[in-house]
């Protein structure tokens, strides 16, 4: 599904000089995996996330997404691929204010080449358990519900890959578990998920944990027994 070969990313500082955010990373994620990336801030995990999400291009190396080399796509093709293959979930939800849950969820459809939205948005909201909140606006929803709307938005175009950047960072424990249980359910249904977190507890819900330090993957191990968020919440 994801194949990174010798990826590095170097930024040029505005003051001159360079920063190496990622140094020669090689990394594979198979279809259907649920991977956590952990690391402290500044470790390079956000940069890696941006490259995985086709929001940024690597300075060097090859990135194969779904068998296709995407390491040197044009900006427009990147956008097209993001729309089709990747769903994003952010720490701060990034819902459009004054806009209903359904319209927020339908946003990726707006930029797709689908002829009509059908009831894809509604179905995505049902999938995250918000069938009764379709016409609510963000301020009428709790934090956990808002993040579930964001997950529905990430799912609406039926992407191959879900990328979640600290999805529980702004949530209390109960809501965090709620969100993680949705991720687990989606993963069980076959969805590939890469999740960035600095919270070991959250990472333990995944199958695999990769640790990033100073732009390098320093550890990559399987989780023997992933925790079940639904059980914990009870």
């Amino acid at each position: 599904m994801i194949e990174l070969q010798g990826i590095s990313k170097t930024y040029i500082r505005p003051t001159g000089g360079t920063v190496q955010a990622l140094a020669d990373i090689s990394f594979h994620v198979k279809r259907g995996e649920f991977v956590a990336m952990v690391g402290s801030s500044g470790s390079g995990k956000s940069t890696l996330m941006n490259i995985l999400g086709l929001l940024d291009l690597p300075t060097q190396g090859r990135y194969l997404l779904d068998g296709q080399d995407v390491s040197s796509l044009s900006v427009t093709d990147q956008a097209r691929q993001r729309n089709k293959k990747i769903g994003f979930v952010f720490q701060t939800f990034h819902l459009l204010p004054r806009t209903t849950a359904l319209e927020n969820v339908e946003l990726p459809l707006l930029y797709s080449d689908r002829a009509s939205f059908e009831d894809l948005g509604r179905r995505a909201l049902e999938a995250v358990g918000l069938a009764d909140r379709v016409h609510h606006r963000p301020f009428e929803l709790s934090g956990g519900q808002q993040q579930r709307v964001a997950i529905a938005r990430a799912l609406v175009n039926e992407p191959e890959l879900l990328l979640a950047d600290e999805p529980t960072g702004n949530l209390d424990r109960g809501s965090a578990l709620e969100v993680m249980s949705i991720f687990q359910a989606l993963n069980r249904a076959g969805r590939t998920i890469v999740l960035v977190t600095h919270d070991r507890e959250i990472a333990n819900h995944c199958h695999r944990i990769a640790r990033i330090e100073a732009g390098l993957i320093v550890a990559d191990e399987r989780v023997a027994e992933p925790k079940d968020a639904l059980q914990e919440a009870k």
Binding site: L55, V75, F90, H94, L96, E103, N157
Partner: protein
């Protein structure tokens, strides 16, 4: 990507941010309203002015004014010496003068029963109808016998008729001009307001002999209008008229004229000056306000791009291309300014209607103004939206999402 879908989505988004949207409209509302107002009032004024000029001042007219009194009023100098005989001498001395009419006027209260109205009383000859191209719409004008016999007959304007008679029929009724009783024999054709705001329907025309003898007790006139048979010759007649009048007034070589002569050429120059003001300077002022409105829109849009950075980042993340973002912002700018422009046209038109009815300018035809306003606001909208749209499209998605 479906452009229609994105456009419709933009409309809904703008509808959700009503305050921001209406502020963005405000600039073009004011600018286009000003432009529409100025252009349509300008057009109406021009029509009115040209009509008046044609009426008062056909191509074949020469107007002689006593010294000091200008075409547009001005102070009356004490040494007025222009007399009916002078004009008669000119008319007799020069070939090609078809008709002429002397004029003298005073402003005085006029009474009928309890009603009083201060009107402009004009003393003229029986040729007034033809020379000034203003007839009696009802009743009749006075004839030569009335002028020779200083008859106390009056042809009154519509305003005078309304003020003094309300529902009564003025024809044949008696009115008192100053202390002198007159009989109303006709109603003047309606004229409207002249460019100085004088109501030309608040006039009464009486025989000039009657005016001189009964009302003013002077034998001088303030002006006269000559109709020339050959319009092309008015220019060359000017020095001839001048020579005759100087001779009659016994002016020696060094003395200035104690009269002035006005021909269509000079009037056309004056009209041209007015037209320049109406169609160059006034619209320029309005255009400046439109540009200012555009600048306001641009700065609001720029502020909005900053405020909506996260939204732009999110849209990019879910698949919007840079050109989708550019299109959205450009469309928002164009849509708000054009919508504002349409509102501005309506506002400007309403203002122009109001102004025109106050100034008796006649009908307002808004089409030219609407066309100019709409195209101007479109241009301003796109220009105002360009910079913010480019900036929004240039935002890097990772930075926008931070």
């Amino acid at each position: 990507m479906n452009t229609m879908r994105l456009t419709w989505h933009s409309v809904r988004m703008m509808n959700r941010y009503k305050l921001r949207t209406s502020f963005m409209m405000l600039g073009s509302i004011i600018g286009v309203a000003a432009l529409t107002l100025v252009v349509s009032v300008g057009q109406a004024t021009e029509r009115k002015m040209l009509k008046m000029v044609a009426q008062v001042f056909g191509d074949s007219s020469v107007i002689i004014l006593d010294r000091g009194s200008q075409m547009m009023g001005g102070p009356r100098s004490p040494g007025v010496r222009l007399k009916v005989d002078d004009i008669e001498a000119v008319a007799k001395g020069l070939p090609g003068i078809d008709a002429w009419d002397p004029q003298q006027g005073i402003s005085t209260p006029v009474r009928h029963g309890e009603a009083t109205e201060t009107a402009q009383i004009l003393g003229e000859s029986e040729r007034s109808e033809r020379v000034w191209n203003r007839r009696a719409s009802r009743g009749e004008f006075f004839d030569q016998a009335a002028v020779t016999g200083s008859a106390r007959v009056a042809v009154i304007g519509q305003t005078v008729a309304n003020e003094l008679f309300q529902n009564e029929d003025p024809l044949g009724a008696d009115i008192q001009i100053g202390a002198v009783p007159f009989r109303v024999i006709g109603i003047l054709e309606p004229w409207g307001t002249d460019p100085h705001g004088m109501d030309r329907d608040n006039e009464i025309v009486v025989p000039i002999t009657t005016l001189m003898r009964r009302l003013t007790n002077v034998d001088t006139i303030s002006s006269a209008k000559l109709l020339v048979s050959d319009a092309g010759r008015t220019e060359e007649m000017t020095p001839e008229i001048s020579r005759i009048l100087r001779e009659r007034h016994r002016l020696s070589a060094g003395q200035p004229d104690d009269f002035s002569i006005l021909t269509a050429t000079e009037v056309r120059q004056m009209v041209g000056q007015v037209q320049r003001v109406l169609f160059l300077y006034l619209p320029l002022v309005a255009a400046v306000s439109l540009v200012a409105g555009g600048i306001v829109s641009t700065s609001l849009m720029l502020a909005s791009v900053n405020e909506r950075t996260a939204e732009i980042g999110l849209r990019r993340a879910v698949g919007a291309r840079a050109e989708d973002i550019r299109l959205q912002f450009l469309f928002e700018a164009a849509a708000t300014t054009v919508a504002g422009g349409i509102a501005g046209i309506a506002l400007g038109y309403a203002g122009a209607r109001l102004g025109a009815s106050r100034m008796h300018l006649g009908d307002i035809t808004p089409w030219t103004a609407a066309l100019i306003g709409l195209s101007a606001s479109t241009v301003v909208g796109v220009a105002a939206g360009l910079l913010p749209a480019l900036r929004a499209a240039r935002l890097h998605p990772t930075e926008a999402l931070r």
